[in-house]
Every structure is written in C-alpha cells, then in structure tokens.
C-alpha cells in the first residue's frame, strides 16, 4: 500500500455531487412504485372554524378517485407526539392529528384526504368536496393571544398559554437594574420566517399485508426518530413494522426534522387501501401547512455602567408556537434561546422569561439556527443600543465585555452546560482589520456630508452546536426524556473496502465526503475505498439524525471512535500474524507492525482478510473487523465569531445595498474547508434575508399573506453579496477531533450585522432601532419620521 495523503483539512470536492449535477438524484417525488396512488389534502381556508359537516359524495363519484377520508375515519391512530416537551409544558401539549376533525385551527389545517389514480384527479376531487364551516374568531399575534378576551384555541390552555418558562437569576437581575447607571429598553421583534427548502415535503407509504410491515420514503432529516414516533406513539405498532427511508433530501433547514401528518395519513391510507400512497406538497401548501420559524415578540432591557461594562440583561419573550405543538417546538424558544441569551459577554446578572403561545397560525418549530439566531440578534442589537446610549465605540463595548480565554470552560449562569472553548477577541480584531474599521468612520463622516448614508454593523456571536449530551438535553421536565447521542458502525470487508453506516444523514452538508475523509486518515486507507451508508432505518444503527450542527461533532466523533476500535482489534490480529506481543504493535498509514520494524508490516487489507476468513485468530478474538460506537458527548460545542457588514442606504428610496460582508468564524478544527465555507455562505444568506427581505405575514383573519414564492421574498443571486470569510481555530476540548460544527453559524451570526449596519447608517435621522425586515419602505418611513 502506498502512503496515504492526509485528507482531513483538504478542500475535497464532494462525492455526493456527480449524480446531483447530472439529474440522477433520487428525491422523494422521483420514486414510483407499482400500483402507486396519489393523495391530495383539503385544507381549511379559515384560520379558526368549526366543521359542521363534510360531504364527499360528489368527489367520490369522480372517475379515478379511489377513496376519500376525513379526520373521523382516522380516529384509530393517535395524534402526532410532541417529543421535546421542554419549557415546562404541563398537560397542554396539543398536537395535530393526521387529519383534523370537528375543528380547524389554522388556515391550512388538513381536514380531508383524496386518494386518486393521479395527482391531477386528486386535485380535481378536492374542488368537489363540500364543507360546512362555521368561522370562529381568530388570533395570530402571540402577545395579543394572551390578553383577556382573546379567541381561545384549546380548552386546556387558558389564555392560549402553552408554557411559561424562565432561566437565569431574577432577583439578582432586578437588583442590577435598580442600581444601574445606564439602562436601555427596547421591544424587538424577530419576525416569522418560512424555511423554504427548495424541495417541499412529503411521504410515500407502502404497506405489505402479508408481513404487516410499512415502508415509508420521507423527506426527513431524522428517519430513525420518525420510525420511533410513528410506531410507538401514532400507530401503536412494533417499531420493527416500519422502515423509514430518506432518499435524497432537497434541503432541510429544520423543517424536515419533524413528524408530520402526511407521514401518518399516507401510512394509514396505504394500509386501508392496499396500495402505495404518495403525497408531495405544493409550494403554497408547504408555506401554509409545514412549520415556520422564529416569530418572537420580546421586551428586552440591558443595564450597564457609563464606561461600558454590561451589568444586567432582562428579557421577556412571547414566542408564537402556532396552532399546535410541532415535534420539538417547546425546546426552541427556551433551551436553545434563553440559555444562550448572554452571548459572548460576561453579564453578571441575567434573566429570561418566555411565554409559549398558541395562535391560529402554522406551527413554529426549529428553523436554521433554531433559537440561537433569535438570541444572538437580541443581545447584539442591545449591545449596539447600549454603546450608542453611552457614546462608546460598539467594537470597544464588545471587547470590554468579552468572556476571556482564561474563563473557559465558562458557565453563563443561564442553566446551560459551560461554553467549551473560545477566544473572541482575535476574531473581532481580524474582522475589523478586514473591513478597515479604522478608516471607515472617516469615510462614513465624509459620505454623510455628501448625503450618502453608510453604516457598519458588528455581530460577535457564540452558538450551541453538536446538540447532544443526553444528561443535559434529556433531563426530565426540561428535555427530551430521551437521549441525543449518535451512532456509527464501521466494517472492514475482506477486500479491504470499508463500509460505514451512520445515524447522521446529509441533505446538503457533505457528510459522505467529510466522514470519508476522517476514515481515510484515521484508518490509513484510500478515501475511495470508504463507503458511507445512511438514511435508511434498515441497515443503519439507530441515530437521532442531522440537525443542530451535530453531524460532525457527535456523529463524526462516533465514527472516529469506531475507527479507533477497529484499529485496536486490527493490532491484536496483526500481532498474532506477526507472532508478536500486541503491546508492541503500532498502527499507522493503514499498516500494523512491530515498533521499529515497519518493513514487516501487515496492511489493513491483509488483516481484514485474516479476520474474515478466520482460520487463525488469536484466542478470544471474534472474526471480522466490525465496530460500533454510540457516542454521547460530555458537552455541546460552542462555535463563535464576528461578522461585519457595511451597507449604504439610499436617502431617497430607503433601499439598502450591502457594500461589504465579512465573517471571521471559529468552528474548531476544519475537516473540509470548502464545505465549511459553503455552509457559512448559505447561513449568512439566510441571515441577510431575514434582515432585509423575508417575512411570513398573517393578516388579522389568519390568512397567510406571504403564501407563495411570489409573495415571500427568498433572495435570488442578485440580492446577495459576496461573503469575505476568514477563520480562527480554537479546537473544542469536547471531542477528540476538536471540531465544533458549521451548519448554523452563518445564520446565527449574520442578521444583526446587517441590522446594526442599517441602523448605524440611519443614525443621522435619530433612528435607534428598526424592526426586521429592513425593507425600502420601512427604512424610508423611518427616515421620514425624524
């Protein structure tokens, strides 16, 4: 065997790509099964209505219609579970059923299902179903929903309050505020976003009557978890009677983590009809009925000294959860938000209170950053507000209050595990240098004289990645009531080919490439000889899936540890082959040899063959090189960085143009820099989109005004800038590779850089805060009102 080039750290192009660039991908809607039928869903046009009757007779008579079902038909299965009842949810976790019966709680709530020979007929039949609705009063605003006299969604949730949760230290915080030299208060809205993976969601279910087994192809980020939830909770059947497969998934961004009605109703109908049933959302259906993100109304106050020391932070948030609880919804505005609210700063007294509220809107759950973008936006806006109030440079306020390298592991006092490692100042300094901060203020002053409004916004962020430790996230009352580890199995076949199966799965993250790089290096085998298998509950070990930037830090570490076990066993077998003491064997570059005698090495291929044919193995050693790890890390990881945006606001129109966007991120040790930068680019694009363009808007009647891609402003290429990236490297002490995770960092770091820049540009107009998105109209109005 030749010496293997180190793969880790290289910008390898992705092994996932050849099929995707040639049109040979295999996405859900590409799959056809023998006898497959097509489902379409009738959705309530009212945001809140009693359903008096549903007449399906005309629709049933349409040629090509196979069956029509309503919610009443599906009462033999349970509602979908809420798996993460964090935030002190108590006896009022109202979750959706496969189809709603009797009542619709948001515009888009599914109330009847047509199954037909093709999708055109299914859609035709929807128009023939007659429903007698009795419209009820509607509430869409989370704060208004809690007020006296508001329409009530669920009997078990008075004032529509699902939960009230807090973290931090209330008394100490109140004391810090009452003695503070300076306090600044603001209401900050983190608007509703619609995730918009380019592939919509759906499911294709097949039932085998002979065995009683279901197979469901699904657009899922977590097929093992779906299998568990659909069997144990929804259908009450043995887990082994369901196989879940995620084919190529066209983007997830959180929206595809959850257990959805379509998984349940396609399974139910496939069993009932004895035919496979496929359901794929239209985009407008995806917008109305799949989960949304964010939607916080927050009253926030920051306290500090006149010379720039932050002494307190007090937060009260109304988090809109939608009409029902989605799978992990309660954990997002609580555990993943309040506990990281103090950001990169040492704040001696902080307190965060959150009201989780039901409204007549689509469910809100994890979306691209999930809780952490809301937290980082809040603190970074308030640090700028504080800096402006005391007349101090915002970069210097940040520098003055940073958690210092010597403070790690750092307990922020909010009930989080300690931040693992960090060194915030170099990232800030590097970003300031990249934008030429020292010169910018002069340039800005000159530009203002000429009626040009330049602004610079800084965002120093920290986030929670590698979401796992079961001992933390699984705590009863606060957590899942389940673990959040990850698995990896590795087998070395007798030809020396390496097969990895993992509970992580990619839908754009490049997991196949990154994982193969790790195995190639650690095992010392050619990259090409490593196969990464995933996404099918048949043939992969149970795993929790890909979200929360956890694939590498948790799944990748499971793999790393499995490789180490394989090496240990290989050394034992090599010792036997070389008639040496196992303690004297070294393993390097794919070979095992007695220390000092690398010429007499046995290659991994030779060892694998010996292990496989097994005619001569050391005593007590089982045949085959096959090792599994279920890795539960001791902590999350905490990537960080500083992003800086420079914008120019058009004084006549309010249009915001991004002149520069700089990001210096620290995601720990990099495995594939090309992939990391790609992850950051996409994340930053979303942050910019939230700051300037996107807004999921309901009117007072609960109609989703931004209900199509014509109305919801997903940015195109011409609406986004180039991103100038650099990084610092602070390895995580949590895992042996020192990795942190990069999937969400871009989103978490970016929106506030843009907004701080826009508001800085508007300083001559006396603007202190502006809600997102900073559309031209909103900016223009802000300029006029001063």
């Amino acid at each position: 065997m030749t010496t293997v080039t180190k793969m880790v750290g290289q910008s390898l192009k992705r092994r996932e790509d050849p099929k995707l660039i040639t049109g040979k991908g295999n996405f859900l809607d590409d799959i056809k099964l023998q006898g497959m039928s097509h489902a379409a869903i009738l959705r309530s046009p009212y945001a809140h209505a009693k359903i008096n009757s549903i007449d399906t007779s005309k629709a049933k008579a349409l040629p090509g219609v196979i069956a029509i079902f309503t919610g009443d038909d599906m009462m033999d299965i349970n509602p979908l579970p809420c798996a993460w009842q964090a935030g002190r949810v108590q006896n009022n976790a109202n979750t959706p059923r496969a189809l709603s019966a009797g009542k619709a709680l948001y515009a888009g709530d599914g109330i009847a299902m047509v199954v037909a020979e093709n999708r055109y007929i299914a859609r035709d039949a929807l128009d023939l179903i007659e429903v007698d609705y009795e419209p009820l009063p509607v509430v869409v605003d989370a704060k208004k929903a809690t007020e006296a006299g508001a329409p009530q969604l669920h009997e078990n949730a008075p004032n529509n309050i699902c939960m009230t949760w807090d973290c931090g230290h209330k008394d100490a915080t109140d004391a810090a505020f009452s003695s503070a030299e300076v306090t600044v208060k603001e209401q900050i809205i983190n608007q509703r976003l619609i995730p918009t993976p380019m592939e919509t969601r759906g499911a294709l279910a097949r039932y085998d009557e002979a065995t009683g087994e279901f197979t469901v192809w699904m657009t899922s980020q977590a097929p093992h978890v779906m299998r568990l939830l659909l069997t144990a909770f929804v259908f009450g059947i043995p887990e082994t009677k369901l196989r879940c497969i995620s084919p190529n998934v066209g983007g997830g961004f959180g929206q595809k983590i959850f257990c959805y009605a379509d998984m349940a109703f396609t399974m139910w109908a496939a069993r009932k009809l004895g035919r496979p049933v496929k359901f794929v959302e239209d985009r407008s259906e995806n917008y109305r009925s799949s989960t949304h993100g964010r939607d916080h109304i927050t009253d926030v106050e920051i306290a500090g000294t006149k010379d720039g020391t932050i002494t307190g932070l007090r937060i009260e948030t109304w988090a809109n959860l939608g009409a029902y609880l989605s799978t992990i919804a309660p954990g997002i505005p609580t555990t993943l938000y309040g506990r990281i609210a103090t950001g990169v700063y040492k704040i001696p007294a902080a307190y965060c209170k959150v009201h989780g509220v039901y409204t007549n809107t689509a469910m809100v759950d994890a979306y691209r950053g999930a809780g952490r973008p809301e937290a980082s936006y809040l603190i970074e806006r308030m640090v700028d507000r504080f800096a402006a109030e005391i007349g101090m440079d915002p970069a210097e306020v940040r520098r003055k209050n940073f958690i210092q390298p010597s403070d790690f592991p750092y307990d922020n006092g909010m009930g989080l595990l300690p931040y693992d490692s960090g060194n915030y100042e170099p990232a800030l300094d590097r970003a300031l240098a990249m934008v030429g901060y020292a010169d910018f203020r002069n340039e800005q002053a000159e530009a203002r004289k000429q009626g040009k409004y330049l602004g610079l916004g800084i965002s120093s962020y920290v986030e929670i990645c590698g979401v796992a430790p079961s001992a933390w996230i699984g705590l009863p009352g606060e957590g899942w009531g389940a673990g959040l580890w990850e698995s990896a199995n590795i087998r070395v076949h007798l030809t020396g080919q390496v097969v990895v199966t993992t509970g992580s799965l990619p839908h754009g993250q490049g997991v196949e490439t990154t994982f193969a790089q790790i195995v190639a290096d650690e095992l010392g085998v050619p990259y090409e000889s490593v196969l990464i298998e995933h996404s099918d509950t048949a043939g992969t070990p149970f795993g929790y899936g890909t979200y929360g930037s956890r694939s590498l830090a948790v799944g990748g570490t499971a793999l790393y540890k499995s490789v180490a076990k394989v090496k240990e066993k290989a050394k034992k077998i090599a010792a036997h082959m070389l008639e040496a003491n196992p303690a004297d064997i070294e393993y390097a570059d794919g070979k095992a040899y007695v220390k000092g005698s690398p010429d007499q090495a046995k290659t991994l291929g030779e060892i694998a063959l010996q292990a496989s044919v097994a005619y001569s193995l050391p005593e007590g050693v089982e045949p085959f090189l096959d090792e599994t790890t279920y890795y539960d890390p001791p902590n999350c990881t905490f990537p960080f960085g500083t992003h800086i945006a420079i914008v120019e606001v058009d004084g006549a129109t309010g249009m915001v143009a991004i002149k520069r966007y700089v990001g210096v991120d620290d995601v720990g040790n990099p495995i594939n820099p090309l992939i990391i930068d790609g992850q950051l680019h996409g994340g930053i694009a979303q942050g910019i989109a939230q700051a300037l363009y996107e807004h999921g808007v309901y009117d007072e009647n609960g109609q989703l005004v931004s209900g199509t891609l014509m109305d919801y402003a997903v940015p195109n290429a011409a609406m986004l800038p180039n991103y100038e990236l650099d990084r610092t490297v602070t390895p995580s002490p949590v895992n042996p590779m020192g990795v942190k995770g990069a999937g969400e960092a871009g989103t978490i770091g970016s929106a506030q850089a843009i907004m701080n820049a826009v508001i800085d540009a508007l300083a001559p107009f006396g603007v202190k805060h502006l809600q997102m998105p900073a559309t031209a109209e909103r900016v223009w109005r802000a300029m006029q009102s001063h």
Binding site: I21, G23, K32, Y120, T196, E199, L674, D677, H681, A718
Partner: protein
C-alpha cells in the same frame, strides 16, 4: 387526450397526453426524466428549467402540448458521451451545490446565459440567474461555477454539450 411528438435529449417520443398536462409532469412522469425538479407553483424557483429549441424555459409554465414538435434538452442530456459539461464540472469543482435540488435548473439557466453572453461579469451572472432560487449556497459558489464554465468554454474555443 392529445398526441404529441417531441425530441428529448436527441430521442423522439410519440405520447398521448391530457391537454392540461404540464411539460414538467410529462417529462418527469411519462418519460421518467426526473432530473427536472419542481420547487414551486408560481414560476419563481426555476428548478424546472429545460431548453426548448435551445432556449431556457420553466417547464412548469408550459403545457406538454405546446412542446409538440419541439427539441427539448433536460439536465440528463447535458453531459455528452460520459463527459460532463463545463457547467456541471464547474458546479462540482466550485462547490456550487449542497442539497442539489435547484442544481439542474440552475445549470440549465446558466447554460442559456452563457450562450447569450460568453463572458459575463459577476453582476451579469447574478442578474442572469435571477429566475432561479437556491436556499443552500448563498449563490457565491454558483457564481464561481458559472465563471469556471465560461473560462473553460472560452479557452477551448467551442461550446461543448450540444
């Protein structure tokens, strides 16, 4: 039912289609050419872009019967004799895709762009791809991928692929 005759990626098909069948559904469901994707229902996303008689078209906005007699190229027809088109190469080399769902439409649109403007500036590439949405990449590497293809196609003095 109407009978249409279309040539797709060099092969001619005679098909019976309902007059209301969208071209994208005809390609995907009758011809099993599933590389052309559907990402919206309002002609915004561009995941369904194909070429009709050499021009890029959103196939969700064309009826199959309107393509009667036409020559159509889909993403499956872009690579020739196992050789990737420079755009496909560019997307791979420059990490111009993540989940890959928008990629076929993005490549087909970029192809048309380069036909019309073989030396586009960054700004021209960004504006030229305004009809295609990507949620993963933030577009920077898509721009680089198109630049890579433009360089390669200009360097070789011909336009491989068709």
């Amino acid at each position: 039912m109407s009978t249409i005759s279309v040539t797709v990626n060099g092969r001619t098909y005679q098909s019976d289609v309902e007059p209301r069948t969208l071209l994208v559904h005809y390609l995907r469901e009758q011809l099993n050419l599933t590389g052309t994707h559907i990402g919206c229902d309002t002609s915004q996303c561009g995941a369904c872009v194909v070429h009709i008689n050499g021009q890029s078209v959103k196939s969700c906005t064309v009826l199959a019967v309107q393509a009667d007699g036409a020559e159509i190229t889909t993403i499956e027809g872009l690579a020739q004799n196992g050789q990737l088109h420079p755009l496909q190469e560019g997307f791979w080399e420059k990490h111009g895709l993540q989940c890959g769902y928008c990629t076929p439409g993005m490549i087909m649109s970029a192809y048309d762009l380069l036909q019309q403007n073989p030396n586009p500036t960054e700004d021209e590439i960004r504006h030229g791809l305004e009809g295609n949405l990507c949620r993963c990449t933030g577009y920077q590497n898509i721009v680089k991928a198109v630049q890579y293809a433009a360089d390669k196609m200009n360097g070789s003095g011909n336009s491989p692929g068709e």
